[in-house]
Amino acid sequence: MAYRRGFLFICVLSCILAVTTGVHAGGYDAFKGLEGTLRISGGTAHIPVMKALAREVMTRYPAIRITIAGGGSGVGIKQVGEGLVDIGNSGRRPTDQEISAYGLRLHRWAVDGVAAVVHPENPVRSLTSRQVQDIFAGRVTNWKEVGGPDRAIHVFTRDEASGTRHVFWKKALGKGAIRKDADVVPSNGAMKTAVATDPAAIGYISVGYVDETVQALALDGVEPSLENVRSGRYPVARGLYSNTKGQPSALAQAFLDLLFAPEGRRIIASKGYIPADR
């Protein structure tokens, strides 16, 4: 069933390009001599970085195949725990119970903000925490009450197993209620599509997914920018984890090392996340 949830993101990157002989960048050297398939699944916030890194690796070493699937944080933890994938991503720290039950090793390689987003046509650019809580709880139902046009607010949220929902609910909504009739979407990508196609929508996505199709909102006057997430001024942030079951394979280890190498950090930063130290 998991493949149904992550259908948007199941992208087996099979673009094998010409071999560039003799060119080896530092962090990619670790893949030299390795071959086989590396299976990755889980958190949808991780996907832009995973895809970019996989493309780099597979271009340099055609004997290596890397498959990336979505599914959400819960799926990532579950699948790596059961040995279905080599690396399971999660947008939240796995619970102590999950860590001990599966023997997980955590690798936190980036910090990611979660921003409330609206359609770019919506003139609202900033909300207070109170307003966000009221909107998501259903106490405020029209954009005009928060300085927007006279239009009913369409609230979009994620399923209960989502790491993005968890951090937004905890740090932006103060563990407050989310209205029952809010539309539920199954991934960061689906959330972006939903908000980008509905001028009256409000939702929340990983900052790495924000582009010109959606407008990220400032919270209490603080923009969810890279600097503000890094400095901690923007409070709705979480670590991005890649988890392995016990000792990772040589290929998985090389991939995880790459996330902390300068090349990897550059890609992480270019996708809108803040690289973390090991």
Binding site: M1, A2, R4, R5, F7, G71, G72, S73, G74, V75, I77, K78, G81, T95, Q97, E98, A101, A152, H154, F156, D159, E160, A161, S162, K180, D181, A182, D183, V184, V185, P186, A190, T193, A194, T197, D198, A200, A201
Partner: protein, 286 residues
Amino acid sequence: MSRRERLVRKILGTATLCAAALPLSILIFMLILARPLLSSFSVSDLLTGSWAPLQGRYGILPMMVASFLLASCSLAVSFPVSLGCAGLIFGLTPPMLAVPLRRLVQLMTGFPTVVYGFVGVFLLVPTVRHLFHAGSGRCLLSALVPLSLMITPTMTLFFSDAFAAVPRPILLAAAAAGADPVQRFVWVVIPSARRGLAAGLVLSFGRALGDTLIALMLAGNAAQVPSGFLESARTLTAHIALVIAADLQSLEFASIFLCGMVLYVLTSCAALCAWKMRAATRKNSR
């Protein structure tokens, strides 16, 4: 009975037994996995309660209502359309039209539902939003239209097969009695194909009930009992797809097996009804 025959009989008997045991074992498997939930809540609470896992409520009534409503309404929409299409293919229209129509219907049965879902997200949802001012436009109606479109070809094919199985002598007799093609279709072909029609209906109901992607992408997925077609709703299948990511040990996760059981029972009931209906028609025709 020769030794060989006995052996074949034994092998076939075992195969039948296995085939029968498989669905039963699936039911038992779901029952076992749903046990954490069933042991802490009563079944009636679970089947009539609301869904609020953070408050410890794991009722699946909203999802059951949405699934049943969506499946039966899409059946109601596509039944007359399929009957008409199958009639045209059967011979109410010259072969020049009937043959391409049949090809088109066959082609349409192979369409993956995600295509309907995508078209729905970008075309249907904004249209419904503008036409009805219906919240975000993700609602039962937005899922109903593509779902009906999806099951119509399947149903049409079943119906035309049923029509094709009507014995020719009956048709000739009706023609000799002076019935024109439409009269023959309405008074002879449809009644004699009742069994096939029932089978087509049941299978299409199962397909509508079991489809996940259309509802997941278009129905909005709010876990509430829908009070109208313009309300956001979550079907059992979409619920399973959304909750599958939950922690393996959690009660939320156990609840998806309860949903599976409800789906199982609903489709079994539909199959039983069809079986009953068939038995009744057989008795009548004797």
